[in-house]
């Protein structure tokens, strides 16, 4: 098993530009079931052997798409997310970064009470190794297996995954929830999905400074998660008051520090790794029963 995406996923690409086309190609190469693309004004054409549509609603009607990945430029991305949700897409993965915060606040409010999951924005997406790749992560560094990975980061997740794969430790699903302050799926919701997945044995949670999502995740884990969780927090050496690349990675006064997050993780029984170089080794230890 796995979470969010698998071999049954029917993927639509919103924003079939240069980047969208490239990643659609990569997804197809990985074996993902890509069913079409949406490019307003280009409807009727084709991309990678599948039809292009003017609207998501039209695409869903014709292709039965249930998942979409969004590469639409930031000024138009919130509208694209709402369009996907309005058209009944169940899982929307938004890669676009630089979306205005109030646009995302609006999207979140718009989604309230609607039955859809958003991943991102400003995220690498989600991959269930060997089944489906709905994101911009390099597929080849992954390996099917039983470790779930959740992260606010992109390349740092690849780093962690590569450390796992290098040790022969495969992954059930890897989810990059994105580095923005306001996004869709959060740590807690993602943890609950992994907890319900019979084929995930260990969870790796990669957080970073800013906000309180890691603290909330740690508290949730103590209460609701039976799997061992290995945690890492990026930004232990970051200064206060500066956004470290990700819009969400900022220590605001005394809030959002790596120290606070690490403490919360330790208090709640997670295995905390101090060095990003040690994530793979820590998971191996957990799997070997050494912790």
């Amino acid at each position: 098993m796995s979470i969010l995406v698998d071999e049954n996923t029917r993927l639509l690409v919103q924003g079939m530009g240069r980047e969208g086309r490239f990643h659609a190609e990569q997804a197809v190469d990985y074996g993902t079931r890509y069913v079409g693309g949406v490019n307003p004004g280009r409807g009727g054409g084709a991309a990678l052997g599948r039809p292009l549509f003017n609207t998501v609603a039209g695409a869903v009607a014709d292709t039965g798409a249930d998942t979409s990945i969004i590469f639409v430029p930031a000024p138009f991305a919130a509208d694209a997310i709402c369009e996907a949700i309005d058209a009944g897409i169940g899982l929307v993965v938004c890669i676009t970064d630089g979306i205005p915060v109030l646009d995302m606040v609006t999207v979140r409010r718009y989604m309230a009470g609607k039955d859809a999951t958003l991943i991102g924005p400003n995220c690498p997406g989600v991959i269930s190794p060997g089944k489906a790749k709905v994101g911009i992560m390099p597929g080849h560094i992954h390996q099917p297996g039983r470790v779930g990975v959740i992260s606010r980061s992109g390349t740092l997740t690849y780093e962690a995954v590569a450390q796992l794969t290098a040790r022969g430790i495969g992954q059930s699903t890897c989810v990059g929830i994105g580095g923005d302050p306001i996004g869709g799926l959060n740590f807690v919701q993602c943890l609950s999905l992994f907890e319900a997945d019979a084929d995930t044995d260990v969870i790796v949670l990669i957080g970073e400074i800013g906000g309180s999502a890691e603290e909330e995740a740690a508290a949730y884990i103590a209460e609701h998660v039976s799997r061992p969780v290995v945690g890492f927090i990026a930004g232990q050496s970051a200064p206060t008051g500066r956004r470290m690349g990700h819009a969400g990675a900022i220590i605001d006064g005394a809030r959002g520090t790596a120290a606070s997050k690490i403490a919360a993780m330790e208090e709640n029984g997670l295995t905390v790794v101090r060095s990003p170089a040690g994530i793979g080794a820590a998971v191996a230890d957990v799997l070997d029963g050494n912790t």
Binding site: I99, P100, I141, G211, F232, S237, P239
Partner: protein, 405 residues
Amino acid sequence: MKIHEHQAKTILREHGVPVPAGSSAASAAQARQAAETLGGERWVVKAQIHAGGRGKGGGIRRAASLAEVEQYAGQLLGSRLVTPQTGPQGQEVRQVLVEEGCDIAQELYCSLFIDRAAGQPALMLSPAGGMDIETVAADHPEKIFRTHVDVLLGLADFQVRGLVANLPVNAAVQRALAPLLQQLYGVFRAKDCSLLEVNPLILTPDDRPVVLDAKMQFDDNALFRHADVAALRDPAEEDPLEVEAAAYDLTYIKLSGNVGCIVNGAGLAMATMDVIKLGGGSPANFLDVGGAANADRVENAFRILMADPHVRAVLINVFGGILRCDVFAEGVLHAVSKVAVEVPVIVRIAGTNAEEGRRLFAESGLNFLVADDMADAAAKVSQVIHSPLPSPSLKGRGFMAQDEA
């Protein structure tokens, strides 16, 4: 993005929010003229820098004559104002705001910001105006009232009514404050603010609310739809290297350490800083070259790092996902052929075509210290920084620390 108080007040005034009459001045003579134009008998001269806490630093002066206005403006302009938020080096005052004096019956606090946990804008109101709100929050949490805004519905009448009912003010003041709070939210929303803080929001002796100080910060990602706001950027208030980096599409933040780093991805960049720190070094910067990481960007990254005199070594840490490591390596080699890199460079590349990339570095004839993984990279950084011997720079000056070991 931050703007000056006088700019914030101009925006608020345009949206019908009551602010004192005033104008900004860049010289003592201009300040005197501004006061003359305003008329009246009392003025306030306020240093315009982006940092807060100006009152404590002596940046806000009350003047009872035009001569005093001129004198205080002259003293402030060109000086370096030190406040609790500037750091010890202070911030140069390039403009002052000259305002009419206001009689104050009561000082309130009000701010709007994005509450990440709630995923909504929040409105915070307190009767403890004019004070540091973090202190109030710590010592008198019962004096802070807040509500979240349903961004689709807007800040509803019942919400502001409920909030102001908590304040020790009469019903007439409550009725005047409620629409003012909605106006402030209107500006916050319309301008894509990340922060709108009014401290103090005063009540005059005749019960009129007036915005006496205003701090506005904007969502950088939304500036594309606010050309008027973007035009208010004051690069003089920002670090020149960061301004330059932004022009090159690099996300660069200057820090006080001695190991420069060039990384792709924000999370990995932070983790790289952490690894430097764990190895006993100290990061000189945060630098994310982004997903593209082409030769141009790398060249500009080196140029900016080399402009920082504290940098004693550079660590390149790149995980090639979509980016191919061999292509990246070529970019780096091209970049260092154009920029004088006179410190040791540790390179750690992983992911797509990493082997090929490593070979390119090894065969370049330059003294790259190629690391196997992040742990090894950290060790090499530590070695270079802590070695009593001069470390070999990229172009071969000094010794090769690795050979010595």
